[in-house]
Symmetry: C2
């Protein structure tokens, strides 16, 4: 190594190379393909390229003025710097935090991957059966069951009726060498020869807005293909209450219509995954579903009216098994479909799945779990006691009801920064395509940036004066103020992409519902935010939102960023866990029995908490010390 | 009582009255409406009016010459006399044995009535559920299950999916006062108000030729209506092998056709019974089926080919539960249909039911059970060991393949006697209607009477010489001899009703198959007929055949008549027992596991035994001491 050369290692990637002394971290990262988030092309104005110096702090440049704006003293002490501003004069190891990493194309199906030992309900067993002879006549059934008992230790099985109908033909065509497909205690099929390697299942997370499907190998417990769809029920009502109203007004046919709509999309996902992985739909022997209580009822065609009326009782709480064919699902004709138990009100099996994925029922420490979606569920507690609520947060963070909102797809603006001085903007889109709209993570970041830049104030109102300073702040034909993120020249839509006063209001309502739910819940549990060891943020777009921006707008109780874990679609995680493991299904029943549902609608404090939480970040700034400091650094006086 | 008056009591009726001394028993019986079987109008030539003097033997007339012809010394010693010949000079009690009683219209569904404590799979429970409140929100499911657990002690139940779909509506329409229909561990329906009294099931015996159906109250275990039908599969093959051949030749569609045919007739029986008893078909929650293995496969649409080929393995041995709706049965939409386990080869659940009805698996004594039908099953043994065979006896005794054969319906000749001197005949028809044909009991009695009268000999051949003595013996246009039982002037068919040489041959084949089966079976069990404590004769027409006539033609091993019990349709009895009792279903599984099936087709002695048994009564008269004596009394030298 030359005297003037240093070595820089990037973690968690493990990439390393040698550079001249004085190299800027961002420049080094680019040569290695380590893709650090950056919106301002290295100008130090977006503050998105935060990294942490793990080793080698001695040869580091002093913080620039721009860095001092974006980094708190605590962050600086902990080694955080902006990659675009920091030069290294000695070898160093740089950690790129997840929120500064650039994601790939968003399926928004990813969630925590919790390793679970497969113990699936469906197993396959290759059998070489001794045929009956005149000296040892036994029924085809006994031949099958005896072999399964003696060779595979499986007792008390029974032959499914449909299997029985053609059993004698199948046994003889295969010359008695067959694979038995065993689902719990039932033999649901007999296959020619040895097919024991081919045993698949399909796990689904039915979100109010999005569906995620996972084709899994039941033998290994591995995912072999993934698909996602919008929930087509949206056309009949954006939130669960409007869908239930639709059913109440139009009766059983409407219920059937909603049921068939979601089944049809699930079948599309099954077909897509099967094609990707070269699996036959008839090789799917088991399906597992999670979703909130409304999704459960609309998927299973259960009359949902009374769950929408006080005292909001679910119809079914426990898990239920239904023949997949009866529901119209494309899979093996005797496949079973399991719907994981729910908790109460609209808090469904997606929440059970969330809590399973983070193993909350076994947690010694107090944790909070927020699963952000059209309905947002918040749980708090530990192994001794867990309380959960559901907030009607609406689909704003999913891009609905937002002028230029969109789902996380190519061209969606996912990161935004506003330069507090020039009031110019930098953004990044998915796949770096020309912008089409703004997706969830952008919709969290936009109000945070506008707030820091003083374009909106804590009540969410645009500052008219700013229109004088920049063309980006302007008045719409309807008389609202809006901020232009991308001009029509840049965009792929031939129109400006803006965020309007109305959008900010929608986002305030959504975040207020979530924050108020969390605050009320803490109070009911006689806890404060400081009792929370870990705040898990789940939900389809959770992986992509910026923890600090979300904290800046007051989406959740203010905690140190390292206490916050984005776990993604843990509903999907839990659905997969339940698909491959009987033990996890039992665990789900225990969660359903032990987690108490709390009805926010009857809480005396909810309304006032909601109003306070509709401020950005909160009316009560004593709950927001970090944001107070941040806004002060930006010259805002909260 | 005047000096010259006597009192005569008839048992088991308990009818009694006073008569002048010297009254003939038959005359006394008629005045009381006690209907003693008689074909010869009191001439003492038919010998059908055997009664037993229980009390008052001192004032009895001496046996007439005619009585001495019809009664053995042993019978005389035991108090048996002919009612038309015997005068009483002192008070007496007369027992009318079952075989001398006159039956009513034959449904041929009657069988042994074995009292069983009801413990049905389906039970109903009236519930008053506490509705959920905001302070005690629980799911509709939990409300239902909690009430069933706490108030009725029923645990581990689950709500059936179809029940769940409308559960919230039903609970609220009924103001939470509902009846839960519980089938095993499933809640298959929720009914408005208290319907717990209305809980029905349907038990079926699927015979190759006849179907019997019993509508039962599951709460009480009582039969509330009965129906019978011919098995419509007959049009596609009279015996099971021809039906299976039909399926093998025409494939799965033919199998479906046979399945649908029998289901449609069962549905007719269900409709008939429900109408008779004013029960809705939707109030039938459970169905139970018995039948031989071929009937099992054709009813359940299981491919039957290989059970008809060596080594004759059944497809299913164990009991199986199928949704009644899936089979196309008219009943509650979630009713379960249970098919009782089979034993082996074509020995099916009808035999399991037979052995259950006579409790053979618990018998200390050696017993034999013969269930006569198109297939005749014979079991012998006791609690230590039971062996069972199936004989292809054919449908001759059910009136098939017999020129004037018919089922037991109005106008069927059911009793026949031939006067050995005049060679004239006496007969009795069902409901005393003008004769239409000859039913099973007549077809057993006819060859016995012709044999005693010397019209046919032990090889079954007509004695040509008899044509010279009586016009009743004559030659058919085809050159066969036949005997005229009723002339066309008497008959309702405008043609003579005869029994032909060909008929005798068919009946010989049928009885030879049964007898040979019984003989081979005894040999395999290392038993002789003298080891048999009780011979049970089951089968639809069993109740009506004359034990002595059957013994005379050698239908079964020769035993004293009081060792022979006619138990009727015990397949129906067992089906009813299994319908109303879980314990009986378990008992059926034990019978299926413990009774060994023996394949007659591979027995080295069967062929020679069959040939010997085709004689009337048997080629080896050392096995027939009673018949030897009887024929001697009639002047026949065997």
């Amino acid at each position: 190594m030359k005297n003037s050369e240093i070595e820089i290692v990037f973690q968690p990637y493990g990439s390393r190379s040698k550079y001249p002394s004085g190299t800027i971290i961002m420049v080094a990262a680019k040569t290695l393909g380590v893709d650090i988030s950056s919106l301002c092309a290295g100008n130090g104005t977006c503050g998105k390229c935060k990294i942490r110096i793990q080793r080698g702090t001695e040869g580091i440049s002093s913080p620039t003025e721009k860095e001092l704006k974006h980094l708190s003293q605590k962050e600086l002490k902990a080694g955080f710097r902006l990659a675009c501003q920091t030069k290294l004069r000695s070898s160093a190891t740089i950690f790129v935090p997840e929120r500064s990493r650039v994601g790939k194309q968003r399926l928004q199906t990813e969630g925590l991957n919790v390793p679970v030992k497969p113990s699936p309900l469906v197993t396959k067993h290759y059998l070489e059966i001794t045929p009956p002879t005149l000296h040892n006549v036994r029924s085809d059934e006994d031949g099958l069951l005896d072999t399964l008992r003696i060779k595979h230790g499986l007792d008390n099985l029974r032959v499914d009726y449909e299997t029985a109908k053609t059993l004698p033909i199948k046994l003889r065509k295969a010359e008695w060498n067959v694979t038995a497909v065993v689902s719990e205690k039932r033999i649901i099929d007999i296959e020619h020869g040895d097919t024991s390697e081919r045993c698949f299942g399909f796990a689904v997370d039915i979100g109010s807005t999005k569906l995620a499907g996972f084709l899994m190998n039941l033998n290994t417990g591995h995912v072999v293909a993934v698909a996602a769809r919008m929930n087509p029920q949206i056309s009949l009502g954006e939130d669960v209450l409007s869908r239930i109203s639709h059913v109440m007004m139009h009766g059983l046919n409407a219920l059937r219509e909603l049921h068939e709509a979601v089944v049809s999309s699930i079948n599309e996902m099954i077909a897509e995954c099967c094609e990707k992985a070269n699996v036959g739909t008839g090789e799917i022997y088991e399906l597992n579903f999670v979703g909130n209580t409304a999704m459960q009822m609309l998927f299973l065609e259960i009359w949902p009216q009374y769950t929408a009326l006080s005292p909001y009782p679910p119809v079914l709480r426990r898990g239920i098994d239904v023949e997949a064919a009866q529901l119209g699902l494309t899979s093996h004709p005797r496949a079973n479909a399991h719907y994981v138990p729910v908790i109460g009100g609209f808090v469904g099996s997606d929440s059970v799945a969330d809590l399973m994925a983070i193993d909350m029922l076994n947690s010694e420490e107090i944790v909070m779990d927020i699963d952000i979606g059209t309905n947002t569920e918040i749980a708090v507690g530990n192994k001794d006691s867990i309380l959960i609520v559901s907030c009607a947060s609406g689909p704003a963070f999913e891009g609905m009801e937002i002028k230029h909102g969109m789902r996380a797809a190519t061209g969606a603006i996912e990161r935004i920064s506003v330069d507090p001085d020039s009031l110019e903007t930098h953004y990044r889109t998915i796949e770096d395509a020309p912008p089409v709209g703004i997706c969830g993570s952008g919709l969290v970041e936009a109000p945070a940036e506008l707030l820091k830049a003083g374009i909106i104030n804590m009540t969410g109102r645009f500052n008219k004066e700013m229109a004088k300073k920049t063309d980006r702040v302007r008045t719409t034909p309807e008389g609202w103020l809006e901020y232009v993120i991308a001009s029509k020249e840049e965009s792929a839509t031939d129109s400006d992409i803006t965020i309007t006063q109305a959008d900010i209001r929608e986002l305030q309502k959504a975040k207020a519902a979530i924050r108020a739910g969390a605050e009320v819940l803490l109070r009911r549990m006689k806890l404060t935010k400081d009792d929370i060891t870990t705040l898990y943020v789940a939900g389809a777009f959770g992986n992509y939102i910026d923890a600090e921006s979300a904290r800046t707008i007051g989406l959740y109780p203010e905690l140190p960023l390292d206490h916050i874990k984005f776990v993604g679609n843990t509903a999907g995680t839990g659905s997969r866990m339940c698909l491959i493991s009987k033990q996890m299904r039992e665990y789900a029943e225990r969660i359903s029995e032990n987690v108490r549902y709390y009805e926010l609608a009857v809480d005396p404090d909810f309304q006032s908490e909601y109003i306070k939480a509709s401020f950005l970040p909160h009316q009560d700034m004593s709950r927001q010390p970090f944001v107070t400091e941040l806004l002060k650094r930006h010259g805002r006086v909260p």
